[in-house]
């Protein structure tokens, strides 16, 4: 009986199809987050709003007006989503990309630092990993330094890198990129060491029976084996690289970049500006990780490793 009645009762539910794929659940989660954000904005902005009413000798303000006002403050404790969206729209679409007030301009500055730092970091990470895998001495001597390098708070070391490099006449993009490199080489090193060591004994023995040279074994066996590991660590690396770029823009009092936007925003209490820079950084990180994911899919498919 239940077998025949169940499908019928399902098809009469107009929302039944919505939750079947991934779109429905994702929308629900996003809406829930937005709702929490709005409620939090109202609650957090209410004290300041009440002070404002008190100063203007306004009393008996209706609740609906209170809600409306808390979501429309100029420097709210927590800006509402629509304020952030409006600010982002204002600073991307409505401003020329060359303008210092354009978020696109600042994003581009941060992006170029991120990419340069990521590129150097990935190369460095791969080279260190190759050294570690092929030399016991390097394994014992280098690996502890690689690990301890990541235990130092980046905020402590970033100003020193910038100051030292400035002293030797290197300024501009490179010092900031070095901080990105500092953060992004680590996951690549760890991932590649794991990847280059992942071939099974039987595969290494096979190479041995062919009396293959170390270089041949590396190019034909270890490197292809490490490719999936490389992409996974690159995804972590590029996100770390973006964090590095933003942190690198803070101590110099840099005038451009998402980090500079965050800093300027916090100096002047421009919370809407801070949040729009934050959201932009998150979108940027998401897109970069997504791009690497696409590159990974294509590469693995061409290698025949995606089943």
């Amino acid at each position: 009986m239940t077998a025949s009645t169940l499908p019928a009762s399902r098809s009469t539910n107009p929302f039944a199809g919505l939750m079947r794929g991934t779109t429905g659940p994702v929308i629900v989660v996003v809406l829930a987050l937005l709702a929490i954000w709005y409620v939090a904005a109202v609650v957090l902005n209410t004290p300041f709003q009440r002070d404002t009413y008190a100063r203007a000798n306004q009393s008996d303000v209706p609740f609906s007006q209170l809600v409306g006002d808390t979501l429309a403050q100029e420097r709210p404790v927590l800006p509402a989503p629509h304020q952030v969206i409006a600010e982002m729209w204002d600073t991307t679409v409505k401003k020329a990309v060359t303008s210092k007030r354009s978020l696109v301009y600042h994003t581009w500055i941060t992006l170029s630092t991120t990419l340069l730092g990521f590129l150097i970091g990935t190369l460095l990470g791969v080279l260190i990993a190759i050294g570690i895998v092929h030399s016991r001495v390097l394994d014992k001597s280098l690996m502890p330094w690689v690990i301890s390098s990541q235990t130092i708070p980046i905020l402590a070391i970033a100003p020193m890198i910038i100051v030292v490099l400035n002293a030797v006449g290197i300024s501009g993009l490179l010092p900031k990129a070095m901080i990105s490199t500092y953060l992004s080489f680590f996951p690549v090193t760890v991932g590649m060491v794991k990847g280059l060591r992942s071939p099974e004994i039987i595969h290494l023995d096979l190479m041995h029976t062919y009396s293959a040279s170390k270089l041949q074994a590396f190019l034909k066996l270890r490197l292809p084996y490490a490719v999936p590991y490389l992409f996974t660590s690159m995804k972590i690396g590029i996100a770390a690289s973006l964090v590095g770029a933003i942190v690198g823009e803070l101590p110099t009092g840099a005038v451009a970049g998402l980090g500079a936007r965050l800093l300027a925003g916090s100096y002047y209490g421009q919370t809407v500006q801070i949040w729009s820079a934050l959201i932009m950084a998150a979108l940027l990180a998401g897109s970069l990780v997504g791009l690497i994911g696409i590159a990974e899919k294509i590469t693995l498919k061409r290698m025949g490793m995606a089943q």
Partner: protein, 259 residues
């Protein structure tokens, strides 16, 4: 005529945390050209270790061994043998033809020569038509056949096989045994074959070496008087059963020594 493999008083002891393990002790063995020799014995009797010593994948601690009149190391560097492992060990990112090309690339053969050898050896193991497939698209038996083709493509006179059909089911194993036998008959290669299946050893071999464990040593060497040319039907004949019986007795005796 000198032997293809000549082993005298060979011993191998592994140093482990629990003290020395005598994997091989005082092995004496000669393998002649065109022989099909099986090593059979229970787990831990050192049959795979002995094969790995021949292949220069393990170093003996005592005694002498020559392969094609050279040390195993020289023989390996001269690519004197093809080795087939327990698992197919195909590279997942290479198609079947590119897997077979792997040793040929390492040897630095020309493209034309590579293509010719791939074609010939894929035909030999009945895999023609699967050149562009990836390993995961093939069954276990086909993968193992591809790995045999890969070993044959090196064109060695000596083929070392370490339980190549151990992971396959009986039906596929019978079929591959038959194919391997025909291959050996056709090419007249010397084969050293590790197995723990009595019918497989008796069906394929001209010489069966029974090993027993702790320490790993040779218990019995059986020269088979079965005709070189044979089919799977031979397994029903009294001659076959007689040899199989002697192998089984050897395995039993070798084992009871320990228990």
């Amino acid at each position: 005529m000198s032997s293809v493999i000549d082993i005298e008083k060979l011993s191998l002891t592994f140093q482990t945390n629990d003290g020395p393990v005598h994997a091989l002790s005082e092995i004496d063995l000669k393998i002649e050209e065109g022989d099909f020799v099986s090593f059979i014995g229970p787990s831990g009797c050192g049959k795979t270790t002995l094969l790995r010593v021949i292949a220069d994948l393990e170093q003996p601690t005592d005694g002498t061994i020559s392969v094609n009149g050279m040390t195993p190391n020289q023989a390996r560097l001269a690519r004197a043998y093809g080795y087939v492992f327990q698992a197919a060990a195909l590279y997942p990112w290479r198609t079947i033809e590119n897997n077979i090309a792997l040793p040929l690339e390492i040897m630095g053969l020309s493209r034309a020569e590579q293509r010719e050898r791939i074609k010939r050896n894929m035909e030999l193991v009945n895999l023609s038509g699967f050149e562009k497939k990836y390993p995961w698209q093939l069954s276990g038996g086909m993968q193992q056949r591809a790995s045999i083709a890969r070993a044959l493509a090196v064109e060695p006179d000596l083929l070392l096989m370490d339980e190549p059909f151990g992971a396959l089911d009986e039906i596929v194993r019978d079929h591959l045994n038959d194919q391997l036998h025909q291959l050996w008959e056709k090419t007249n290669k010397t084969v050293v074959f590790v197995t723990h299946s009595i019918p497989e050893a008796v069906y394929l071999s001209t010489k069966i070496v029974v090993l027993c464990p702790r320490p790993g040593r040779i218990y019995d060497v059986i020269e088979s008087d079965l005709p070189r040319s044979r089919t799977l039907d031979i397994r029903e004949t009294p001659e076959f059963l007689k040899i199989a019986h002697r192998v089984r007795e050897g395995l039993k005796a070798g084992h009871s020594y320990e228990d």
